[in-house]
Symmetry: D2
Subunit: 317 residues, 4 copies
């Protein structure tokens, strides 16, 4: 498709200036990668499936809002994609406007509804007159301010955006650190086509989607016991409706460890047997670098010793 010097193409949730772009910049600068902003998460992921991009960068979980539905659901179905890396970005907005605007002028604030929801109390306290003007993304609100000729009213006075947005679009910052929860972060994932897995580091995660055989709590217990029986801890478990009926769920799971670890591999073998559907979404290094605690009897040497013992028994000695 292109010569050897082609930069890797990263599709991401755009437009330019989103928190997603900030995540992408953490590991691949604009001179190391071709940035391909996409209109939504689904489009970014589909760009990888179709080959139009090599990788996608999308938000998967917010510490306040929880899992990002579109990401979880697009990964869970359709052609296989795997997670290759995760990046955590603090969610701190700025209130930005065209040069010359002052805070006292602002009565209409445009941003994505989720961003508005995360700053609602801040506005109640600091700018109670503000009303929300919905935008399709935070960056879209910033872009509109920058793009329209000054004589046109964009329909709002300021945009609630990522700091990167204000910088890219040459906007003036009226307020920084706008957030109801100062420690809020969003976790982004880098997604690619299945291929060689990232090497295990000892501080890894394995992501899965699992359906249950039935709707009973016994089925959830049986699923969790496949992890417990091999000493595999979960760092995230999230239910998602299957979409066909109320009361039918799949579970989106992050397990501690790497597919190359025997305990993780055995747990997956168990899940494959007892659950009607299991999708592997990748093994990759944790953003926080926390080394996995391995319970006694569950490291690779323990599995190897047990298998050797079994082989000896089967040979009859």
């Amino acid at each position: 498709m292109s010569g050897p010097t082609r930069l890797p193409r990263y599709a991401y949730l755009g437009p330019a200036g989103t928190f997603t772009e900030a995540a992408l910049r953490q590991f691949a600068g604009p001179d190391e990668a071709e940035y391909v902003p996409m209109v939504d998460v689904i489009s970014a992921l589909e760009a990888v499936r179709s080959g139009r991009a090599d990788f996608a960068v999308v938000p998967i979980e917010n510490s306040v809002e929880g899992g990002v539905t579109a990401t979880l659901d697009t990964l869970a179905t359709g052609d296989a994609l795997v997670l290759l890396r995760e990046v955590v970005v603090p969610v701190s907005f700025v209130l930005a406007a065209r040069p010359g605007t002052v805070l006292a002028d602002v009565t209409r604030v445009s941003t994505h509804p989720h961003a508005w929801a995360q700053c609602r109390r801040w506005f109640n306290v600091n700018l109670p007159v503000a009303v929300h003007v919905p935008a399709t993304s935070t960056a879209a609100a910033g872009a509109l301010l920058a793009d329209l000729a000054p004589e046109h009213d964009p329909g709002f006075d300021a945009a609630l955006v990522a700091p990167l947005s204000a910088e890219l679009y040459g906007l003036e910052i009226l307020a920084e650190h706008v957030a109801d929860n100062e420690s809020a972060v969003t976790r982004f994932v880098v997604v690619g086509l299945p291929g060689a897995l990232p090497a295990p580091t000892g501080a890894d995660k394995t992501s899965l989607v699992v359906h249950l055989a039935s709707n009973e709590s016994g089925a959830l217990l049986a699923m969790l016991e496949q992890f417990a029986a091999r000493g595999v801890n979960l760092s995230r478990i999230e239910s998602r409706p299957l979409g066909d009926l109320l009361g039918r769920y799949s579970f989106s799971i992050d397990a501690e460890g790497h597919l190359a670890d025997e305990r993780v591999a055995e747990a997956l073998i168990g899940l494959h047997r007892v659950c009607p559907h299991v999708r592997f979404l990748g093994s990759y290094p944790r953003a926080d670098g926390a080394v996995t605690e391995v319970a006694p009897g569950t490291n690779d040497a323990d599995f190897a010793a047990a298998r050797d013992w079994l082989a000896t028994l089967r040979r009859g000695c």
Copy 2:
């Protein structure tokens, strides 16, 4: 506050014409209740807490999108509220416009981003030229079409709204049954202040919020075993981030049965002991009327017989 003939006041997610109002109309007609539309879910629930409304009607779960974050989180913290009833409404949109507009004219469609997300494939197939113009709610888009003088451009050509909206606002329906998933439904709950519980019917649900003692999968197993040890089945379990750190969750749970059932009461006693935080969100009839299957040894008579036996042992006979 008002005389004996005052109608009960229902705060709901407005404006007029939302699916939430459609839910409210299922059990309390406009002549039986005072309808109080609110700008968002949080405001509707706070209206009950402050006494400005007697009840609130809010969406809690969508069969496609999953739990409604704002509802779950507002119920989980702050002053106590309880669920009194649930109502399930099919989510089927209509595309509505000012009289005289025809489908071929439509290139800009206004609606809430969630509604747009649920009809994205329908538009790809049926109206691929359409672009999304965000609105703060589906009904707000409809109201704007109705309110603006005909000579003003509202910025869009049609609104994607609930059927009730089109009717209330006198709009013309350009397309019916607009939905990517024809069986999609939304579950709404009626919320009030704590008080006498709805009487058990044999087809009830009990809603809870539970925090875990630690982040380990063992803690989740221990919590689920409190239900399993009393034969209580779960119809929904959903994790929600605690908001302070990635990787800390609470669980929003619907258990089958009523607080008046011994098995449910015993499970709650167990949860109260082993979990750092348990919030009771009510026992109320299931919308689907499905009678709870009671496992052998777990009906009230079994508990009574076991307690009588224990009392006899303690008396030493």
Copy 3:
């Protein structure tokens, strides 16, 4: 049956001089109790049922041999009996003979088969010529040596007996500390009719017999979870065949704690519901005085707080 000054009557596994009598002497001297030696464990227990004795003292478990079948089975069926106390006695035999006998003379040793089994290796090493002459009890062998006129051959040269036996029967000790396992002990229980339970001491045991609903390992897990869900630890679990078919078992269980403890009471209520048969065999102080470790969330105050909370919920406030 007798005046107020009557001493309590203790039936025990006799004849005089058994380890059982040694256990009895630990807590009730001959001037404090009437000793009633019985021919076997069943007779001793039946003497309590019939009123011919106030209490029975019988062995229930040996650290080498395990549970005493006759005791476990007689307690498990028939009219109710309860354990009131336990006493642990070291099992150290002496080889005893008529005065004048020396070790080199001994080729025939009489004792109960179980005693012989526990000293088999000792004899292999120290007196390999010895053959076993079975007796109905260790003390019976000693008694026969003492009772027969010197000119009669009892059919053996020495008796393997409890130290108390040699003392009571005026025998000469040829070897002390005869045992294959020097730390072997036997646990005895004092059994009475149901009545006021011994007061809780914080270092108690509760004994039970439990049948399972089915033969599946799931039924055993379900039974154990009734204990685990209340944080009750087991110090002994022993299977006993039900006697009707191979593969059907009851379980004889010692749980840590007292029936007066809420966590024990709740576990029993759970067992009563899920198991087809549960027999309570008493709550009594542990012989070793080991204070029960109470897991977080499982002491009486935790149960009381949880019940108060539940009552508040049910009242609707």
Copy 4:
């Protein structure tokens, strides 16, 4: 050691005429095997370890009395032995005497104490005057009657023996079907040195001895979950004291299935990891021929499919 025509040597719990010999005759007639009666179970098993016998036949479980301590404990420690076959024999005694004796003459009955215990109620009803004269085995009592010259008093009038004993020793049967429990059976096992395992038949058992990591009920649950996680059912679980201290146990287990079954192999691998000691005692056909019920997701094909899937994931496709 001998030529090609040497018959296999079977050590068994003798003397001639025991129920154990009856078990041996079920599968190897006197012309197909060399019978080597041994004085006790330990000697029979040691004869295999030392090479003096090819196989041993010993009782392992009685439907009334439970596990045979000496067998379980000798198999659990020392050089490895494996079970190759099981044989179930109804335990029905006959009361036998020298020709000429009639039932009315009998006041002294010789037999092994276990046999006496199993017929105690029968004698209470049918021959209440009878007193027990202990013997080292049932057959020993019969042999003594047959061996002594008629003018010598063996010290008893009749022997309670296996039907085979009466036949071999030419005794007269005074009463048949002597037993308190008419359906009582004893299970015998054929034991050999480790070697090729008996081929799987679909109706197999696997016997194990397992120690627990700690004394807590959690450790027992963790052990049982290794079976449950692979859908392996247990047909027998029996605790045995470890002999060092009261309250420390090992578990003697019969699991349904064969070591060649993936689910059994995986459960053993799990046990080897989480338990400090696991001893494999063989996989062999069940005497009752009951075909193992295999739960969904636990047959060999399920394991193979799961492993193939895992291998695919690890290759990154």
